[in-house]
């Protein structure tokens, strides 16, 4: 690192906050003035080109219209799920599931085959690059938000996606909690807050108590398959039927037409948040479909969807042991909360006018940045105490569940259970862990099977293996076993019911490295340019300092000359050349950097305040 970099305080490696949404994603960072969004919205859409190149974000969203068969959206709905879980989804979304991918779902995008975490990793990589360009340095650590109601497998899949994208995921934060952080930080509020979060594909409700900077979640509830997508699909189905009766043509088998119509439907839906009526307008080939839809009709159509959010809200109040009257504030999060009917339903239920000061699309990402600030030590007085959304249990005799950790327990949370051998000489014990509230195993979500191995043979009931179940601050289960007779750690085989094994994730990381090497050169050039931007920016700033004019003219000329040289090679694709010219600027500006430093130190010694 050059002296200039040090002297001008080029940013230390930042921890970014990422809102990995169903429809859109955002990246943010905490700086001295507070959380801030870096670069624009990145649509959570991924497309694989015939060349094998993967495109993510806005570009991919455009490709959805022209190359729908090699482009995928709303993949968050598939995170941590198996084929059997997603039959409903498959009726409504054009996911192309690869045959025979039972426990780990695989999708086909053109010629490529990818798992949902790999697809999400491409969105994350795009966010990472955007952040690196704005920050002018590498980004390797992140806080990623997930729906509060995400189960263990869905959380693990999100974490895997981060790893595959080359990010160390320091924390998964629940989206409604992140929103509360974003709202609560500058207000220092006390009291009880309800966060209603209706996004593209997920719904969460959380109730928190704010107390001297502690954000304590009392209860959470939700539906990980409920959101704006459902409204889109409803309108889409109606429009398709409409078109069939009007044109006598069924467009539903035509992916391009469906995507174009889907976009038209979304535009109409969004317009209805601000106008009493809107038109679904589709030009397809030489035909045109137009249908006006009034707010009253729209409200009637979506009422059942909005009503589906009310049950979880009531359960959440009950679990939090809080009455509607005790709720001090209601916060709205997620694009779908712009819909007037959603707002009025929330207002009616909680008998309070909801907060909407912060952009509902950005508030989660802003909160993620605050949590990143907490982890990085930049935010000292705030602390988040979150809960696990679902009860954790193990299978017992007769397919029943014995609950170990109840839902809405503050995390980290743990429980120990003693296991023994059922018959003489039994050396293995199988533990089936499930998540959910129902009494029967089959009605809950299978999480994983742990096999305790190598128990010394002994008479039935004599073995003593203590198993510790611990849900960490990310809401992810960790299991450890100890043989109480020997005091030794007991080895265990873990088979996740859904999702990737550690080995599979490692393989994907390796593969992504290999792919990365292919475009290593391109990346090096990009990085060199990022650094050039930073150097030139820092130099321009330094020139504004009064010290600059005290330099000898020759030195100032030398700075000009090296900057011009750097500019001349800036667009070349030789990263070594760009770097050589950066070094030139660094050399030429050394005197300037020192002079500014000295002047700053002088001022500081005089007790004058200087801005960082």
């Amino acid at each position: 690192m050059s002296t200039l970099q040090i002297d001008f305080g080029r940013a230390k490696p930042s921890i970014v906050g990422i809102d990995l949404g169903t429809t859109n994603s955002l990246v943010s960072v905490m700086d001295l003035t507070g959380p801030r969004i870096l670069s624009g919205i990145v649509p959570s859409v991924v497309s694989v080109q015939p060349s094998g190149e993967v495109v993510a974000g806005a570009e991919a969203r455009e490709l959805l219209l022209t190359q729908p068969e090699r482009t995928v959206y709303s993949v968050k709905r598939l995170m941590g799920r198996g084929v059997a879980d997603i039959q409903e989804e498959l009726k409504l979304f054009p996911f192309q599931v690869v045959e025979g991918s039972e426990s780990v779902l695989k999708l086909r995008l053109g010629d490529a085959v990818m798992t949902p975490p790999e697809i999400s990793a491409h969105v994350l990589r795009k966010l990472k690059q955007d952040a690196e360009e704005v920050l002018g340095g590498p980004v390797e650590q992140a806080v990623i938000t997930v729906p509060a109601y995400f189960n263990d497998a869905q959380r693990q899949a999100t974490k895997d996606a981060g790893r595959i994208a080359g990010l160390e995921v320091l924390r998964l934060v629940n989206e409604p909690t992140a929103a509360a952080l974003a709202y609560g930080l500058d207000k220092r509020k006390q009291g009880i807050v309800a966060v209603y979060d209706l996004g593209g594909g997920t719904f969460d409700i959380s109730i928190l108590r704010l107390h001297d900077g502690i954000f304590e979640v009392l209860a959470t509830n939700g539906d990980t398959h409920l959101g704006g997508d459902d409204i889109d699909n409803l309108l889409l189905r109606i429009a398709l039927e409409d078109i069939q009766s009007e044109w006598g043509e069924d467009l539903s088998g035509n992916p391009r037409a469906v995507q174009a119509l889907r976009r038209a439907v979304i535009e109409a839906k969004e317009a209805l948040s601000f106008a009493p009526s809107a038109t679904i307008d589709l030009e397809y080939g030489d035909k045109r479909y137009q249908r006006q839809i009034g707010l009253d009709i729209f409200n009637k159509l979506i009422e059942p969807i909005v009503e589906r959010t009310m049950g979880p809200c009531r359960s959440c109040l009950k679990d939090a042991d809080v009455s509607v009257e005790q709720i001090d504030e209601v916060v709205l999060v997620g694009g779908s909360t712009r819909i007037p009917l959603v707002r009025s339903a929330v207002e009616k239920l909680f008998k309070a006018r909801p907060h909407t000061e912060l952009n509902p699309d950005e508030v989660v990402a802003l909160g993620a940045a605050v949590q990143a600030g907490i982890l990085g030590g930049d935010v000292q007085d705030a602390l988040l105490l979150d809960v696990t959304p679902l009860s954790l249990g193990i299978e017992t005799m007769g397919g029943l569940v014995s609950k170990l950790i109840h839902r809405n327990s503050t995390i980290p949370a743990s429980e120990t259970e003693l296991f023994t051998n059922g018959v003489d000489g039994q050396t293995n014990v199988l533990i089936h862990v499930v998540q959910g509230e129902r009494e029967l195993v089959k009605d809950n979500r299978s999480l994983a099977r742990f096999e305790l191995k190598g128990i010394p043979p002994m008479p039935a009931g004599m073995a003593r293996v203590q198993v510790r179940f611990l849900i960490d601050a990310n809401g992810i289960l960790n299991v450890a076993a100890k043989d109480l007779r020997t005091g030794l750690e007991q080895s265990m085989d873990v088979k996740p019911s859904y999702g990737l094994t550690d080995e599979q994730v490692e393989a994907m990381i390796l593969e992504s490295y290999e792919k990365a090497e292919e475009d290593l050169k391109e990346r090096q050039v990009r990085e060199a340019r990022v650094e050039a931007d930073a150097v030139m920016g820092a130099t321009a700033k330094a020139r504004e300092d009064e010290v600059y004019m005290t330099l000898p003219e020759s030195e100032r000329d030398e700075i000009d000359r090296t900057i011009n040289e750097l500019l001349a090679v800036y667009h070349s694709d030789d990263h070594l050349l760009i770097r050589a010219k950066i070094d030139g600027v660094d050399q030429a500006t050394q005197g300037l950097a020192e002079a500014i430093m000295n002047s700053a130190v002088g001022k500081a010694l005089k007790g004058t305040h200087i801005d960082a």
Partner: protein, 173 residues
Amino acid sequence: MQYYDALGLEPSLSLDAEDLKSRFYERSRQWHPDRFSRASAAEQDKALEMTAVLNDAFRTLRDPVARAEYFLKESGVELGKAAPPELLEEVFELNMALEELKGGDESARPQLLTARDRFQGMLASSDADLVELFGRGSGPAVLDEVRGALNRRRYISNLVREVEKVLHVDAAN
């Protein structure tokens, strides 16, 4: 007892709810894993461990019933499973009514609703009894009474659950 240690308390059946809460917040600020994200792996593990126990402790101790169960278990007193003798006759009648409703005899419903309300009332008063008991220290005689109260409470609460299940299943049909 580990849960009391985690909150810096001497073991006692009687606890002040506000004091417990402020101890919990104070220790959370100190030990939460968020405070250790740049620390060594060993320190991170320790923070995770401390916080998990702290959370488990707070969850258990703030609830009088869970606290009493924990206290008895740690004192080596086992909870029984026998039905409280004074309830036997009533439970017998209740079971008959439950069977009738399960068999489709709707005339049993009002009786069950009344029984449920009565048992819920008993639950509330047994909670008050527990708190009153807590005030009398933790000598063997008190522990024995607490044990009796907990058994009775658990038994009644299972009854209420059973009745509600039958009432709901039927309402859904």
